[in-house]
């Protein structure tokens, strides 16, 4: 129940902050545009270039989303209030990670058609599988991102520090997402790169397991 309440609270905070959502959308769209211009106008391997662009834009823009909810919470004193309720730390983490997952999912829904149009790639036949890759990737991104965002909460230049820690950690996830999406768009299946699914699942599970172990300590450190 606590996780659902935290999820609802974080989603409400995002929904009320239309200016931020617009900025995040425009920033991620700009990234897709810049990268498509850099690769184009004649694409050598559009499936590869489009998948790399899509995931690079999502990963970079996602950092802004990860810190935003925590910032809003800090400004209103909500984080402190949440701790005073004595709520189970992992439930709080689960609610926040799910909110981040949904925010990133919304961003993916926005960027996917743009990347498809700019690179003239993709088909509806593989869309469910591409969505499956997105779910696998964004679970890991939200799991690790929420953990690192909580860790970096009180720090100066936290977006930069978050990037330093998050991006290198998520490289296996990023490579997997690009390879699987590329394979689906280019060949219509993931047979050649199936091993990456296992690696991505391990990264996802590891992120959640470490959060279950360490999130309480991170909350204590903030007190």
């Amino acid at each position: 129940m606590t996780a659902l309440r935290v999820l609802a609270k974080d989603l409400k905070l995002h929904a009320r902050d239309a200016r931020f959502l617009a900025t995040l959308s425009l920033f991620s769209l700009s990234l897709v545009l810049i990268l498509s211009v850099a690769f184009g106008p004649l694409f050598r391997d559009p499936a590869r270039e489009a998948s790399a662009t899509l995931w690079a834009a999502l990963f970079f823009a996602g950092v802004l989303g990860l810190t935003r909810a925590l910032d809003l919470e800090s400004e209103s004193g909500g984080g402190e209030a949440l701790r005073l309720t004595g709520a189970d730390p992992f439930s709080v983490y689960a609610g926040k990670a799910t909110a981040n997952f949904l925010l990133m999912g919304a961003l993916w829904v926005l960027l996917l058609p743009c990347a498809s149009v700019f690179f003239d790639i993709g088909s509806l036949r593989v869309l469910p599988a591409v969505a499956g890759v997105a779910v696998l990737t964004l679970i890991g991104y939200a799991a690790w991102g929420t953990l690192f965002a909580a860790l970096a909460r009180g720090l100066k230049a936290r977006e930069l520090l978050l990037s330093i820690l998050l991006f290198p950690t998520l490289i296996p996830l990023w490579i997997g997402a690009v390879k699987l999406t590329h394979s689906l768009w280019a060949e219509g299946s993931i047979d050649a790169v199936r091993d990456w699914v296992k690696i991505m699942i391990v990264v996802d599970v590891l992120g959640v397991a470490l959060a279950a172990w360490l999130y309480e300590a991170i909350q204590e450190a903030e007190e």
Binding site: G154, I164, L165, T169, I199, A217
Partner: protein
């Protein structure tokens, strides 16, 4: 070990330093004068006697950071935080040696300074992440520094098995999976490993002493 550095550990510093200097000197002599020149790569192959021990020492150092971070979260004793930070800092120096010596060897072996192959890439990621550990440690407030550092020391350790196993997990790896040597080459490599591990211990003790002095200054206690 819960309240401070044991006396015997502090007193052993001069002995460990002397041993480290002697061992490193002998190992360098063995590398130059005793180990034979490899037929294919020539003298460049001797970089292995610095590169491999530095890599092993890096793993030991970051492993110590991981273990001490867990111990800190369990006991909340400052000494474990000091051990974790000290090991990580000295480990970063050895990791840098690995990153510098690797390309020098690769230029001769692979005809390129750098290639995006799994072991190199994952090790560079490791180096960036542990660099991030120090930046975070320097940025965070005094009250939460130890806990945040401990959490990070645990999370970052996840990358060590990835670096270790990367040559097996990813296809097309150029990096040797293991170093197989015999005779004088093997003896020199083992001696180098021992020498640089003792050197790590000496540097670690020195760094730990500084942490101890800092703790004493901040808490108003006397340091050993």
């Amino acid at each position: 070990m819960t309240s401070g550095i044991p006396g015997w550990f502090s007193r052993s510093r001069p002995v460990v330093w002397a041993l480290a200097i002697v061992l490193v000197a002998i190992s360098l002599w063995a590398v130059v004068a005793r180990a034979p020149v490899e037929v294919q790569m020539g003298i460049v192959q001797k970089i292995v006697y610095i590169h491999v021990p530095s890599a092993i020492t890096t793993l030991v150092a970051f492993g110590l950071t991981f273990a001490a971070s867990i111990a800190y979260l369990a006991t909340r004793s400052w000494i474990w935080d000091a051990i974790a930070a000290s090991a990580c800092e000295v480990g970063m120096v050895f990791a840098t040696v690995v990153l510098v010596s690797g390309p020098l060897w690769a230029r001769s072996a692979w005809n390129t300074w750098w290639t995006w192959e799994p072991r190199l890439t994952t090790f560079l990621i490791l180096w960036i992440l542990y660099g991030g550990y120090h930046v975070v440690r320097a940025s965070v407030g005094q009250s939460s520094k130890r806990t945040i550092s401990a959490v990070l020391g645990i999370i970052l350790f996840v990358n060590l098995p990835i670096v270790w196993k990367s040559v097996e997990w990813w296809r097309g790896s150029l990096h040797p999976r293991s170093v197989t040597m015999t005779g004088d080459m093997r003896q020199t490599l083992l001696l180098s490993m021992a020498a640089w591990l003792v050197f790590f211990l000496a540097a670690f003790q020195e760094r730990l002493r500084l942490e101890s002095l800092r703790h004493a200054a901040e808490s108003g206690e006397g340091a050993r």
